[in-house]
C-alpha cells in the first residue's frame, strides 16, 4: 500500500465523514421526529391519519433510498421545486428513516403494559401527563435497541448519497479508484473511516442500552 498516497487522501475522507455525519445526524433527528409522530398516531389509532401514515410506511420501507433521492433531486425540479443536494439527502434520509423509527417506537409503545396507563389515570394524571411521564419514557427505553440499530443503518445508508453528487465515503473511494487506481488504499481508508465513526456510535448505543436496562427498565 502507498502510504504517501494514503496520507494525501485522508483529508478527502475526513471531509466525506464530516459531510455524512452532518447530514446523517440532521436526517436522523428529523426522521426520529417523524417516526415519533407517526408512531403516536398509529398507536392511538387516530382515524384517517393513521391509514395515511401506514401508506407512507409501506412506501418508504419497500423502495430503495437511491430511487427516493433521484425523485427528490431530479424529479422535483421538473415541477419547479429546486432543492439542493444536501437538502435532498436530508429529506431522503428523513423519508426513509421516519418509517423505520416509527415501527421501532410503536413496538416500544405497545410493549408498555395496560396496567401502567390504568394506574397513572387512577392517580388522576391527564392523558397527556400519562403519555409524557409514564408511557413515553418506558416506550423509548424498550425500543432503544432497535432505535440504535436503525441509527447505524441510516448512517450507512448515506453511502447512496453519491447518486445526487454528494461526496460521501463511497463516492470518495470510487473517485480515487476511478482516477488514480489506488483500489487497495481507497477501500482501506473507507473501511477505516467507517470504523472510526461507526464504532464509537455503536459502543455509545450499547452503553446507553445497558444503562437503560440497569436503571430498571424492562425488568
Amino acid at each position: 500500500m502507498d502510504l504517501d498516497f494514503i496520507r494525501k487522501a485522508i483529508p478527502m475522507y475526513q471531509e466525506a465523514a464530516f459531510l455524512v455525519l452532518r447530514l446523517g445526524w440532521i436526517g436522523i433527528i428529523f426522521a426520529f421526529i417523524i417516526g415519533l409522530i407517526v408512531s403516536i398516531v398509529r398507536y392511538y389509532k387516530l382515524p384517517v391519519l393513521s391509514q395515511f401514515f401506514e401508506g407512507y410506511i409501506e412506501l418508504s420501507r419497500n423502495t430503495p433510498l437511491m430511487i427516493q433521492l433521484f425523485f427528490l433531486y431530479f424529479g422535483l425540479p421538473q415541477v419547479g421545486i429546486h432543492l439542493s443536494a444536501e437538502v435532498c439527502g436530508i429529506l431522503g434520509l428523513t423519508f426513509l428513516g421516519g418509517s423505520y423509527f416509527a415501527e421501532a417506537i410503536r413496538g416500544g409503545l405497545e410493549s408498555v403494559p395496560n396496567i401502567q396507563m390504568e394506574s397513572a389515570s387512577g392517580l388522576g394524571l391527564s392523558n397527556t401527563q400519562t403519555f409524557l411521564y409514564v408511557i413515553f419514557p418506558q416506550a423509548i427505553a424498550n425500543s432503544f435497541p432497535s432505535i440504535g440499530a436503525n441509527i447505524i443503518f441510516l448512517l450507512k445508508e448515506t453511502s447512496v448519497f453519491s447518486a445526487i453528487a454528494l461526496a460521501d465515503l463511497v463516492f470518495v473511494a470510487k473517485d480515487i479508484m476511478g482516477l488514480y487506481y489506488k483500489t487497495n488504499e481507497a477501500l482501506f481508508l473507507m473501511v477505516t473511516t467507517y470504523l472510526v465513526f461507526l464504532l464509537p456510535i455503536s459502543l455509545l448505543i450499547h452503553f446507553i442500552e445497558r444503562r437503560l436496562r440497569f436503571a430498571g427498565f424492562g425488568n
Binding site: 409501506e58 412506501l59 420501507r61 419497500n62 423502495t63 430503495p64 433510498l65 437511491m66 430511487i67 427516493q68 433521484f70 425523485f71 431530479f74 424529479g75 421538473q78 447505524i152 443503518f153 450507512k156 453511502s159 447512496v160 463511497v170 483500489t183 477501500l187 473507507m190 473501511v191 467507517y194 470504523l195 461507526l198 464504532l199 455503536s202
Partner: protein, 225 residues
C-alpha cells in the same frame, strides 16, 4: 412531453430488459435470503451458547459485518480473491456469498434475540421430559421463536433486495443499472425518460417488497392471538 414519455417503456426490448434486470436482483436476493435464513438460524443458536469463546467469535462476526460496508465486501471478494489466488468465481456466486455472509450475521442476531426471549421454564420443562438438546430446539424452541423472528427477518429481506443496487460494481447488471442504460440511450428522444424509468423501478421494488411486508403483518396478526 411526459405523456409520450411512457412509450419509452415499450420501445425495443426495454421493458423486457428491465424485467430481466429485476430478475438478477430477485435471483441474487432470494437465494441469499434463503441461505441467510438457514445459516442465521444455526449461527443464532451458537450466539446463545454458554461458551464464552463461541459467543465472542460470533459477536465479533456480527460487529464486523455491521461496520464493513457491503460494497467493500463485494469488491474485496470479487477482485481481491482473484488477485490473491488467481481463482475466478462467477460474479453472481460472489454476490450471493457476500449477501449471505451479511444476511447470516443479521439473521443470527435476530434469532439470538428471539431465542433468549423464550422463558426459561420452556427449556426446563422440555428437559424434564427427557428431550435431548437437539429435540428441544427442533420441537420446542425454534417453533416458538418463529413468530418473533418473522417481522425483523422480513425487514432484513427487503433490505437485502434493496441493497442489490450495489451489484453493478462487480458486473451484475441489475434493474437500476438497466434502467440507467435505457435512460442514457433514450433521453434524446424522450426528455422525461428518467421520470418514467425510475418511476417504473420504484414501482417494481415496491411490488417485490410490499408482499413480503404484507405477509409479515399477516403472520404477526395471526400469531398475536
Amino acid at each position: 412531453m411526459q405523456d409520450s414519455g411512457i412509450n419509452i417503456l415499450f420501445e425495443g426490448q426495454n421493458l423486457q430488459r428491465i424485467l430481466e434486470g429485476l430478475g438478477q436482483t430477485v435471483f441474487v436476493a432470494i437465494i441469499s435470503v434463503v441461505l441467510s435464513f438457514i445459516l442465521g438460524l444455526l449461527v443464532g443458536m451458537l450466539m446463545t451458547s454458554r461458551n464464552i469463546v463461541v459467543r465472542f467469535v460470533t459477536r465479533l462476526y456480527l460487529e464486523v459485518v455491521r461496520i464493513v460496508p457491503v460494497l467493500v465486501m463485494l469488491y474485496i471478494l470479487y477482485f481481491g480473491l482473484t488477485r490473491w489466488t488467481g481463482i475466478h468465481i462467477d460474479n453472481r456466486v460472489i454476490a450471493i456469498f457476500v449477501f449471505t455472509f451479511w444476511g447470516t450475521a443479521e439473521m443470527a442476531d435476530i434469532v439470538r434475540a428471539s431465542v433468549t426471549s423464550i422463558p426459561k421454564i420452556q427449556w426446563e420443562s422440555g428437559q424434564a421430559l427427557g428431550l435431548t438438546a437437539g429435540q428441544l430446539y427442533v420441537y420446542v424452541i425454534i417453533p416458538q421463536t418463529v413468530r418473533r423472528i418473522v417481522p425483523p427477518a422480513i425487514n432484513l429481506a427487503t433490505r437485502m433486495v434493496k441493497t442489490t443496487a450495489l451489484l453493478p460494481l462487480i458486473g451484475i447488471i441489475e434493474v437500476i443499472k438497466v434502467g440507467q442504460q435505457v435512460i442514457e440511450v433514450s433521453v434524446k428522444d424522450y426528455p422525461s425518460a428518467s421520470f418514467w424509468i425510475y418511476g417504473l423501478i420504484f414501482f417494481l421494488y415496491f411490488i417485490v417488497c410490499y408482499p413480503l411486508s404484507k405477509l409479515s403483518k399477516k403472520l404477526e396478526l395471526k400469531w398475536q392471538e
